[in-house]
C-alpha cells in the first residue's frame, strides 16, 4: 500500500481540481482570455492592418470611446436593447406563467400539450427568423392578411418589420415565440414541486384561488422564477441572430441593438477597436443589471 502525504480531504480536493483542469483550461483559453483581450483592444487602434500584419494594437487615447460618444448610435442602441429586453422578459414571463398554470390544472392531454409546445424551442434561431419573416412578409404575409381582417379592412398594408416604429416589436414577437416554451416548462416543473397538502390546507381554511396563489404557490415558485427570469434577461440582452437575419438593424437603425452595433463595427467595418469598445460598455451594463437584479430579489427574500 502506498503511503499518503496528504489526508483524505486534501486528496479529495486535489482529485477534484485535476478533474476540473480540462474544463478550466478550455474556459480560460476560449472565454476568459478573449474577454480580457477585447477589453484591452477597446483602448487600441485595431483594424484590418493589424490582423494582416500581426502588429499589436496601439493605445489611442480613448479614441474608440470618443467616437461612440460622438454618434448618437450608441445611445440609441442602448435604448433599443433595454426596451427590447424589458418588453420581451415581462411579456414572456406573464404568458409563460399563464401557460404553466393552465397546464398544471387537470386539463385533458396536459402531458401531450407540454411536449408539443416545446417545438419552437428546438427550431434553430435563424430558421425561426425565417419563419417570422415569412409570416410578416409585406405583400403575401399571413399577418398582413389577418390584420386587414381584424381591422375590417382599415389596415391593409401592415408590414411590422419595415416600419421603424414597430420593427423592434416584430423581432420581439419572434423572440417570444422561441423562448416561451422553455420558460413555461421550467415554471411548470416549479409548480409541480409545490406541496399539495399545504395548498389543500389553505383551501380548507377558506383561501380563494388568488389568495392561495400569492401565499402558497408564489413563495414556493420564487427560486424558479428568479432563475428563469435571469436566464431570459441574459439571453435577450445577448440576442443577435434574430436581429441580424430579420432586420439587419434597420429600418433606419430602429432595431440596432448593442449586439448589432458591435458586430457591425467589428466585422463589417472591420474596426475591432470600436467594436470592443461597444462590447466593453455592454458588459459593464450587464454586470450592473445582474447586480441590481440580485439586489431586488435579496430584498424580496428578506421582506
Amino acid at each position: 500500500m502506498k503511503t499518503h502525504f496528504l489526508n483524505r480531504r486534501q486528496r479529495d480536493g486535489l482529485f477534484g481540481f485535476v478533474l476540473d483542469i480540462p474544463a478550466l483550461a478550455l474556459t480560460v483559453a476560449f472565454i476568459i482570455v478573449p474577454i480580457f483581450d477585447s477589453v484591452i483592444k477597446s483602448f487600441q487602434e485595431y483594424g484590418v492592418r493589424n490582423i494582416i500584419s500581426g502588429k499589436p494594437g496601439v493605445w489611442n487615447n480613448w479614441a474608440n470611446y470618443l467616437y461612440l460618444s460622438k454618434t448618437d448610435l450608441f445611445l440609441k442602441a442602448t435604448i433599443h436593447t433595454f426596451s427590447f429586453v424589458t418588453a420581451v422578459v415581462v411579456v414572456q414571463f406573464l404568458l409563460s406563467l399563464a401557460l404553466a398554470l393552465i397546464l398544471n390544472t387537470d386539463i385533458k392531454g396536459a402531458r401531450f400539450l407540454r411536449s408539443i409546445m416545446m417545438t419552437p424551442w428546438v427550431v434553430p434561431t435563424v430558421i425561426s427568423a425565417l419563419i417570422w419573416m415569412w409570416l410578416f412578409q409585406p405583400q403575401y404575409g399571413l399577418v398582413r392578411y389577418l390584420i386587414s381582417i381584424a381591422s375590417f379592412g382599415a389596415v391593409t398594408d401592415f408590414a411590422i418589420l419595415n416600419n421603424p416604429k414597430t420593427a423592434l416589436m416584430g423581432v420581439g414577437i419572434a423572440a417570444l415565440w422561441k423562448q416561451i416554451p422553455l420558460m413555461s416548462l421550467l415554471l411548470l416543473a416549479g409548480l409541480q414541486n409545490v406541496p399539495h397538502d399545504i395548498e389543500e390546507a389553505a383551501m380548507i381554511d377558506g383561501a380563494g384561488k388568488v389568495r392561495r396563489f400569492y401565499s402558497v404557490v408564489l413563495p414556493y415558485l420564487s427560486p424558479v422564477i428568479k432563475v428563469t427570469i435571469s436566464m431570459s434577461i441574459i439571453e435577450n440582452f445577448k440576442q443577435f441572430p434574430l436581429f441580424w437575419t430579420m432586420t439587419g438593424g434597420g429600418p433606419n437603425n430602429a432595431t440596432t441593438t448593442l449586439a448589432v452595433l458591435s458586430y457591425r463595427e467589428a466585422f463589417v467595418s472591420m474596426n475591432l477597436g470600436a467594436g470592443s469598445a461597444v462590447t466593453t460598455l455592454w458588459m459593464v451594463m450587464m454586470i450592473a443589471v445582474v447586480f441590481f437584479y440580485n439586489q431586488i430579489f435579496r430584498i424580496q427574500d428578506m421582506g
Binding site: 482570455v33 483581450d37 434553430p124 409570416l135 403575401y140 388568488v210 462590447t279 458588459m283 450587464m286
Partner: protein
C-alpha cells in the same frame, strides 16, 4: 378583480382558461403549420393574396429543387452535423470530469470554479469573438472546423457541467465508499462504477449540447470564411436571404429540412431532455 368573480363562477373561469390556452398554443404552433404548408405550395400559390390556408395543389417542387439543385445546402448541413456531433461527444467528456468534481468535492476551489463558469456565460459572445478572431488567426486554426468546435465547446461546457453535476449528486456515495474499501482507484470508481449509473445524464448533456450547437450562428459567422466549411445557419442566411426576391417556397422547405433533425432528436429523447433541463435550471 376579474379572477375573484371567476372563483365564484367556475364556468367563466374554465372558459377564460381554455381561451388563453388556445391563444397561446395557436401562437406557438400555428407558425409551424404555416411553414409546413408553404413548403408544399408552389411559388405561384405561395405568392397568392389572400393566402390559402391549405395548399390547393400540394406539390413537392421546392423539396425536389432543394435536393436536386442546391448541393451547397447539404455541404452546410454536413458541416453542421460534424460540428454538433463533435461538440456533443466532447461535452459529455468534459461534463463527466467536472460535473463529478462539482457534485462530490465541495470545497472553496469548487465554489470558485462554479462562479467562474457562471460568470463566463454572462458575457456577450461577440466580445470574445472579436478577440478569438485574432487569436485563432494567429495560431492558424481560424477557418477550420476544429477551431469552431473548440470555441463552441467552451460555450456549451459550463451549463453541461452544472447539468451533469445534478445527476451525479443523485448517486449515493455509499457505492463509491464500498468500491474504495475494495481497493478500487479513483479513476476506476469514476469511469467503471459511477459514470455507468448516470447514462441518462450523459444523454441529456449530449442532446442539449447538440441542440445548442445546431443553433449556432455567431461563432460560425465570425470564425469561418470558406463557403465549404460554413455551417447551416450562416449558410442559409448568406445564400438564401442575400437576394432581393426570395424564393419563399424554397426558404420554407429549407426551414423544414433544417429543423427536422433537432425536432426528431428532441422528441425521441424527450424524457431525458426535460428531466435534464429542469434539473439543470431549477435545482442547479
Amino acid at each position: 378583480m376579474a379572477i375573484k368573480t371567476l372563483n365564484r363562477d367556475p364556468l367563466a373561469f374554465v372558459l377564460v382558461k381554455y381561451f388563453l390556452l388556445v391563444i397561446i398554443l395557436l401562437f406557438l404552433l400555428f407558425p409551424l403549420y404555416w411553414v409546413l404548408i408553404t413548403s408544399f405550395k408552389t411559388n405561384m400559390e405561395a405568392y397568392r393574396y389572400p393566402p390559402t390556408f391549405f395548399p390547393h395543389e400540394p406539390a413537392a417542387t421546392s423539396f425536389i429543387k432543394l435536393f436536386s439543385e442546391h448541393n451547397q445546402f447539404f455541404v452546410y448541413y454536413r458541416n453542421n452535423l460534424i460540428v454538433s456531433t463533435s461538440v456533443a461527444v466532447l461535452c459529455c467528456v468534459f461534463a463527466t470530469f467536472s460535473g463529478y468534481s462539482m457534485a462530490r468535492f465541495k470545497n472553496r476551489w469548487g465554489r470558485m470554479f462554479f462562479a467562474i463558469l457562471l460568470v463566463s456565460q454572462m458575457f456577450p459572445v461577440i466580445s470574445r469573438m472579436i478577440s478569438l478572431y485574432v487569436i485563432l488567426g494567429r495560431i492558424g486554426i481560424i477557418n477550420t472546423l476544429g477551431g469552431l468546435i473548440f470555441a463552441l465547446l467552451a460555450a456549451q461546457v459550463p451549463f453541461c457541467i452544472i447539468l451533469m453535476a445534478s445527476f451525479f449528486a443523485n448517486i449515493p456515495t455509499e457505492i463509491e465508499e464500498a468500491a474504495f474499501v475494495d481497493g478500487a482507484g479513483r479513476w476506476m470508481i469514476l469511469f467503471r462504477i459511477v459514470t455507468p449509473l448516470v447514462k441518462s445524464g450523459l444523454l441529456a448533456v449530449g442532446i442539449y449540447a447538440f441542440l445548442m450547437t445546431w443553433d449556432d450562428y455567431l461563432h460560425a459567422a465570425t470564425l469561418i470564411q470558406a463557403d465549404n466549411l460554413r455551417t447551416l445557419s450562416v449558410g442559409i442566411a448568406l445564400r438564401y436571404l442575400g437576394e432581393l426576391s426570395y424564393d419563399w417556397s424554397l426558404v420554407n422547405a429549407i426551414s423544414i429540412i433544417g429543423t427536422i433533425p433537432v425536432v426528431l432528436i428532441f422528441f425521441f429523447f424527450q424524457k431525458y431532455m426535460i428531466k435534464g433541463l429542469v434539473a439543470g435550471a431549477v435545482k442547479g
